[in-house]
Symmetry: C2
DNA sequence: AATCTTAACGCAAACGTTCCCGAAAACGAT
DNA sequence: ATCGTTTTCGGGAACGTTTGCGTTAAGATT
């Protein structure tokens, strides 16, 4: 029971493969009767064109690659859902790759995507990536690339992100307005642009409200809960007594949440806590976690739209669009002191 | 700056493509000097063989496909990590597909995998799947398939799962030993084998301990938190007062956790709660969630090993291995009444 | 010197398609 | 009857590889 090919149909009908090919594509230069017979037999034999052969011939595959650090992060899972939403509608298939925040893996993923003739790629950078040559060379050859969330300034292509500065500013400002006097920040890895921008927003808010910035209570963690738990323990056992924490992501905030509870402190009374992203679980914590909503699904949609546009109009190479999505403050009990 | 092919090398060196091909594969029938020159130029031109052409020729791709309902479920993310672990080491690349618990999507994914000449596939079934024809026909043609976690009895191939019955039995028994008298169960979708097996374990435990089974407090939910939250609300507002809940998965338990907290009830005092899977977040909840540990990573490893073995030895078609992994009870505060 | 090995390489088919060029009928028009 | 037009189709190259088989020239064997 081998897969039926165009040749099988041709042989059976005593016509050439070119005729079959044309008939299947409903070409005008094939007679109505022949067309009919081909279509019928193709139907009966359950013929589907071979994507690999097509790929070899045309140098494209109708699938797009997506590289994310980690699919278990619900934020990325949601972005991917958004990507699939528009890609699917446009007939593209999306192939997911994980870098595991590892530079070498990212390079391998990029190679795989290019070698397999994917039509384009969407990428959110790995924490470890400092060198962008693997993207640069492809981009210079005209390969469509769009960055999202964890973007970089070094490559001139379309990007979609949120206003990290603004979101961080609002979160910090919110804590200030709730009466917090000593607000700590647990940042992400410093080489990630989003980490720096959120840190910047935090600093600016404190500055604007004339609150002294204490470097001792600005810590850094990877974007995951277990490490954030450890870091927060360290923060809480430090010499400075904090009454508010702005975490650079929800995963970090979840770790902090556990550390605060563990230390027997109450939220928001002893410490007000706010995260970043609005992951689905945050509302289910006890107390529910305040956060900055990030339109993950929409980000995926936008990135996919930009990419597909890039694929279909390679000429538009010149102008690079940077789509900056708006964030929204989501206040829940973990930071709500004043009703 | 096109990709360099074997032809480019051949032309440059005034040899035939076959010579280049053989030289690159270090064939004995190529002279030492020629081999040297080819290797050198290939190096300099950064030649890499085209996987698509190879695929067309040899009918395999060195990729394996993985279909899961939802990558944002940390359990599946962990399984995939396990799969990647062994696949990577054996030179295979894993391509991830999501069925979104939708039958049609699953069928599409299967088609895509078969059409792209993937070497094999690993699948955890979608909730909606009742018909297995799309797997059956491929399997009959000798295509390597291994099921994991959400397996089905209808297809005779390798499978990896945990002892759902045993895990559920232990969880229920644990609640009984903690003094719970009225234990509810929130099950998963009934057409999933794992749901039925866990339900069965629950029933058996109650039976063995001579506790009456109340059908009114056996509810069913999809495997996600938001729906479980709603279902649990309904359970709590019912006429039967429960003092223990065994949830069929951690995602369900997280929803129940939120509902219990929301209702002003305390865990484990008013209600003892236990889930299934031991997702990373469960330990960070307040109070921490008891659960049944499921060796997700190991499950992925085992499934991948079975699949790769199947790929490399197509003859072993006959005997189908069912690897049943052991579960482990993880007792945390949400169910710990007796110290 | 005639024949046999062996080493070293080229030809061409094959994988499944598409598509550019013809080319053979059929048909009117002159 | 001759000549352009359509209409309808086939041949073959191309995409990038691998591989079975044929070929050539040198060296070894008798």
């Amino acid at each position: 029971m081998k897969k039926t090919t165009i040749k099988d149909i041709a042989r059976e009908l005593n016509v050439s493969t070119s005729t079959v090919s044309r008939a299947l594509r409903d070409s005008y230069e094939i007679g109505a009767e022949t067309k009919q017979r081909v279509l019928e037999l193709a139907q009966r034999l359950d013929y589907t064109p071979d994507p690999v052969a097509l790929s070899l011939l045309s140098s494209h595959s109708n699938d797009i690659g997506v590289i994310v650090p980690d699919i278990s992060n619900p934020f990325f899972a949601l972005v991917i859902a958004g990507i699939e939403d528009v890609a699917f509608a446009q007939g593209y298939h999306v192939v997911i790759y994980q870098s595991h925040d590892n530079y070498e893996r990212e390079v391998m993923n990029v190679r795989h995507i290019a070698n397999r003739r994917k039509d384009g790629m969407l990428v959110s950078l790995a924490t470890g990536t400092q060198d962008y040559a693997h993207f640069k060379s492809l981009h210079d050859q005209g390969f469509p690339i769009v960055f999202f969330d964890r973007i970089c300034d070094e490559i001139d292509t379309h990007k979609v992100s949120v206003d990290d500065f603004e979101g961080a500013y609002q979160a910090t400002e919110h804590l200030i307005k709730q009466g917090c006097k000593t607000i700590a920040h647990i940042s992400g890895p410093p080489n990630l642009l989003i980490s720096r921008r959120r840190l910047h927003g935090y600093r600016s808010a404190l500055l604007d409200y004339k609150i002294p910035i204490l470097e001792d209570i600005i810590m850094s963690s990877e974007y995951n809960s277990p490490e954030a738990l450890v870091i927060t323990r360290k923060l809480l056992s430090g010499s400075v007594k904090v009454d508010g924490i702005f975490a650079s992501s929800d995963n970090i905030a979840i770790g902090s949440h556990a550390a605060i509870t563990e230390a027997g402190l109450s939220m928001p009374h002893d410490i007000a806590l706010i995260g970043f992203s609005d992951l689905p679980i945050t509302g289910l914590l006890n107390p529910p976690l305040s956060t900055v909503a990030q339109p993950a699904f929409e980000m995926g949609r936008s990135a996919a739209e930009l990419l597909i546009n890039l694929i279909k109009n390679p000429k538009n190479d010149r102008i690079s669009i940077s789509n900056v999505l708006r964030t929204g403050l989501v206040v829940r009990e973990s930071s709500l002191r004043i009703q």
